[in-house]
């Protein structure tokens, strides 16, 4: 095993194998290799059965490079001794690996360790709950949008819808700032975008004050806005979490607004005084309806919830000045309280004449008709009859 045997070892083995003396075996082996050498020198080849063939082969001259100096050198042609082992020898030596045979490799073998990707499904599964949350939290408009099949787009669309709703709320707030008496009208519009039920409640309350129409108009206006937003913004795609946060923030703002304005609204109502509904738009309620809503015995007609500075701003003392105000400016934040100071005229009611028309004629402001009712102590404001004489009071701003 991995031993190095020399000539004498081989001779000893041969003596043992051939059952001859050691000296004879040594002679034999020596003659064996000597004769091979002689045969090679003579014929250039020696063939021994079972062992192989020794051959002297010519090696052609070739050019090479000295690895140390880089010079080109020519290796001269020479002869060398080669040995071709016999098949029997090869077979016996290769016996440990004899069972192996060349195997053809199949090129079609593919390592199919990869599994089909499920990324898209995961994305959809994640996006769906977001849409559900939106449905549960958000506006009625959002609900209709969220029912669309593609969740990602709906979330974005609802986000934009929320943003648009915020815009409407902002505009509503501006109107609040401008016309304080009309809070009932504006707030329902804002609330409606938040929750429809709440909006309906407030709208009913507002109906008592004859302000339903404007609220309804705002409702109608808000829907087209959101529709266009839905159509325009569906292309954008954003994360669902950002949408949730945005929704929460907007809801918080809406709730804060509601809390801020509710005491103003209902505090007055609890006091037993219904605020005078100043019709601010062209779609003013019919005069008859307005007359119904007004409580005649309001001692000082409270037409405003306005802050003090506006009173100074509109410190009109003369009825002429009141009448001089253009009709177009009416309804823009007139929050003054007036007191009656004597009569300036006596008016005979004509046929089909209403208190609103009389107020418009004498004061230039149709919203001031309750003062006429108050001054004449009318029991039924709707009960104007032809030929009735009314005292038109001189109005001075209360301080």
């Amino acid at each position: 095993m991995d031993a190095k045997l020399n000539h004498s070892d081989l001779s000893a083995l041969l003596a043992k194998q051939a059952e001859i003396s050691g000296a004879k075996a040594e002679l034999f082996t020596k003659a064996f290799f000597d004769i091979i050498l002689e045969g090679l020198e003579k014929d250039g080849m020696v063939k021994i059965n079972g062992l192989g063939t020794f051959k002297v082969t010519d090696v052609a001259s070739r050019s090479s490079v000295n690895v140390n100096t880089g010079e080109k050198i020519e290796i001269k042609g020479h002869k060398k001794l080669t040995f071709l082992p016999a098949d029997a020898l090869k077979e016996k030596v290769n016996q440990p690996f004899a069972m192996f045979e060349p195997v053809e490799i199949d090129d079609s073998y593919v390592d199919d360790s990869e599994e089909p990707a499920e990324g898209e499904e995961i994305v959809q599964n994640e996006a769906q709950p977001v849409a559900d949350d939106v449905q549960s939290e958000a506006l009625p408009e959002v609900e209709t949008i969220a029912e669309e099949p593609q969740a990602e787009e709906t979330t974005t669309a609802s986000e934009e819808t929320v943003a648009d709703t915020a815009e409407t709320i902002e505009t509503a707030n501006e109107e609040i700032a401008q016309e304080e008496p009309s809070i009932e009208e504006v707030v329902p519009a804002a609330e409606e975008t938040n929750k429809e039920e709440q909006a309906e409640d407030i709208a009913e309350e507002a109906d008592e004050n004859g302000a339903t129409e404007e609220a309804v108009n705002k409702i109608k206006n808000s829907y087209p806005l959101t529709d266009t937003a839905k159509a325009d913004e569906t292309e954008e795609k954003k994360g669902g979490h950002a949408l949730l946060y945005t929704l929460l923030i907007i809801c918080a703002i809406l709730i804060a607004l509601a809390i801020y304005f509710y005491p103003v609204l209902f505090g007055k109502r609890d006091g037993g005084k219904k605020p005078v509904a100043h019709a601010t738009s062209n779609t003013a309620p019919a005069p008859a309806k307005v007359v119904e809503t007004i409580v005649p015995d309001t001692a000082t007609v409270a037409a405003d919830v306005a802050p003090a500075p506006k009173e100074e701003e509109y410190a009109f003392t003369m009825v002429e000045e009141l009448a001089a105000r253009s009709v177009g400016s009416i309804g823009r934040g007139d929050t003054l309280l007036y007191v009656a100071d004597g009569a300036i005229a006596t008016h005979t009611v004509a046929a089909d004449e209403t208190l609103v028309r009389i107020a418009l004629k004498y004061y230039g402001d149709k919203r001031l008709w309750p003062y006429i009712v108050q001054y004449n102590k009318l029991d039924n404001p709707n009960g104007l009859s032809k030929g009735m004489e009314l005292q038109i009071p001189r109005l001075q701003p209360a301080k």
Binding site: K4, H7, L14, A31, G52, F100
Partner: protein, 91 residues
């Protein structure tokens, strides 16, 4: 020089009959084969070294058909001539 010539010369050199020489050669080749099978290295001074070498497995490609074959490892006998032998043939 073929096997027959070799045996006759060997018989003549050793003073034995060619049959005996042939038997002797056969025995000696058997001994050498056994030794090589056991990974032994046979040093014959003035002649060369008989040994075995391990050839590792490899992939061969049939250039015509493009088929690829995995050729198994194998053990091959080898002979290295001694330095003296080299010089002898180049004189």
């Amino acid at each position: 020089m073929n096997n027959k010539e070799f045996i006759s010369k060997l018989a003549k050199r050793c003073g034995i009959t060619p049959a005996e020489a042939a038997a002797g050669v056969e025995s000696f080749v058997a001994v050498m084969t056994e030794r090589l099978k056991d990974n032994d290295q046979l040093n014959v001074s003035g002649f060369g070294v008989f040994e075995v070498k391990m050839r590792k497995e490899r992939v061969s490609v049939n250039p015509k058909s493009g088929q690829r074959f995995l050729v198994p490892p194998k053990i091959v006998p080898a002979f290295r001539p001694s330095g003296k032998m080299k010089d002898k043939f180049n004189d």
